[in-house]
């Protein structure tokens, strides 16, 4: 099973701490501080799950998630939207994803949403 996660966030510390935690749990983690060259980054990492911040340069997380979901090469990858924004559920819906988690979150909640996303990716691929 592909255990690769790609995280987009412009905050170096959140990338560091998420990488530390997820690597300790056996995931392979890729990070990016920008959505510039979005498809190059995604296709190169080939992740099973993407974690996307809302306030990411250059386009913002909503636009970036939409692009991922509208491209045949990447539309199958589940995207977890994460943000400190109070209206995260609406933002996730606008972006076209059902997965979201609001900052601040704890490790257990993060793992749970990741598991849900991984399961959906696995089921999607099984039905193809």
């Amino acid at each position: 099973m592909n255990k690769k996660i790609l995280i987009f966030d412009d905050d170096q510390d959140i990338l560091n701490i998420c990488s530390i935690i997820l690597k300790a749990k056996g995931y392979e983690v890729f990070t990016s501080m920008t959505c510039k060259d979005l498809f190059d980054t995604v296709l190169h990492a080939d992740p099973a799950v993407i974690v996307m911040d809302n306030k990411i340069p250059e386009t913002g997380g909503v636009e970036a998630t939409r692009s991922i979901k509208n491209d045949l090469r990447t539309k199958h990858i589940p995207v977890i939207f994460f943000s400190a924004n109070t209206y995260i559920a609406e933002l996730a819906k606008e972006a076209g994803t059902v997965f979201y988690i609001q900052k601040p979150f704890d490790i257990a909640a993060f793992e749970e949403i990741l598991e849900q996303a991984f399961r959906s990716e696995y089921l999607d691929n099984k039905t193809v």
């Binding site: 959140i14 300790a24 400190a84 993060f110």
Partner: protein, 242 residues
């Protein structure tokens, strides 16, 4: 002599209601922004603390997690301090200065950025000194923030920065104009809000701070901008009021 009287009570009530709802919307935006600025570093601190118990006996990892905690505590404190600084208008020390002198020193402050981007600077000042009562260091911060924004909006080797001053009997007008990327119309009303930024690494406090300082000098500020053409910051001082 004839005249027509109009009852404008209703109109005034509508204006007041509009003003109040605008104020509420601005407050709500500000609270959301503050929550965002605090929740992000708080998230990093919380996750680091939670992970701490899994890494016993690994000093280098402990050091890394403690570093994240320390940095993010500092970040929260910095955000709060900078926000509070915006409201500290009462601590100003006013003395007589000329606008020409304050502007020249503000430009000198950002000279390294001007040279780095090879920007052409054009100054058009009134010949006679435009004297105002001002807190010079604070007003220099206000001007410098606007100048930095102008510089960063312009393309390297193609930038043209025009700083001009004009005096009428009751107003001294300062204009800082650039030929940079401009500001989209929908962003203009948010330009002076704390934490609003269009820059990749900006905190969004520069122009909010300028606005607060200018207000404490009883100066008004207008912004005219066209996308891909440039932006003009027009600041009006009342020489009798400050």
């Amino acid at each position: 002599m004839h005249g027509i009287l109009h009852d404008i009570t209703h109109l005034k009530k509508v204006e007041l209601a509009n003003l109040q709802s605008q104020k509420l919307a601005a407050n709500e935006r500000l609270m959301r922004i503050i929550a965002h600025e605090i929740r992000n570093p708080l998230n990093n601190i919380g996750l680091s603390i939670q992970h701490f118990e899994y890494i016993s006996g690994d000093p280098s990892m402990q050091k890394e997690l403690l570093g994240i905690i320390q940095r993010n505590c500092t970040r929260i404190n910095q955000s709060i301090t900078e926000l509070l600084d915006l409201t500290r208008a009462g601590e100003l020390e006013f003395q007589k200065h000329t606008l020409q002198e304050i502007m020249n020193e503000s430009i000198a402050n950002v000279e390294d950025r001007i040279s780095l981007q090879n920007i052409k600077v054009e100054k058009k000042y009134q010949e006679h000194p435009l004297e105002i009562t001002a807190d010079k260091p604070k007003l220099m911060i206000a001007f410098s923030n606007i100048l930095i924004n102008a510089i960063e909006a312009m393309e390297e080797n193609r930038g043209e920065l025009a700083v001009s001053m004009h005096a009428s009997p009751d107003t001294y007008t300062v204009s800082i104009r650039d030929n940079g990327v401009g500001i989209a119309e929908e962003n203009l009303p948010k330009l002076f809000e704390p934490f609003f930024t269009l820059k990749k690494n900006g905190m969004g406090l520069g122009l909010a701070s300028s606005y607060s300082i200018l207000q404490s000098h009883r100066a008004s500020i207008q912004v005219e901008s066209r996308v891909n053409k440039g932006t003009n910051f027009i600041i009006n001082f009342n020489p009798l009021a400050c």
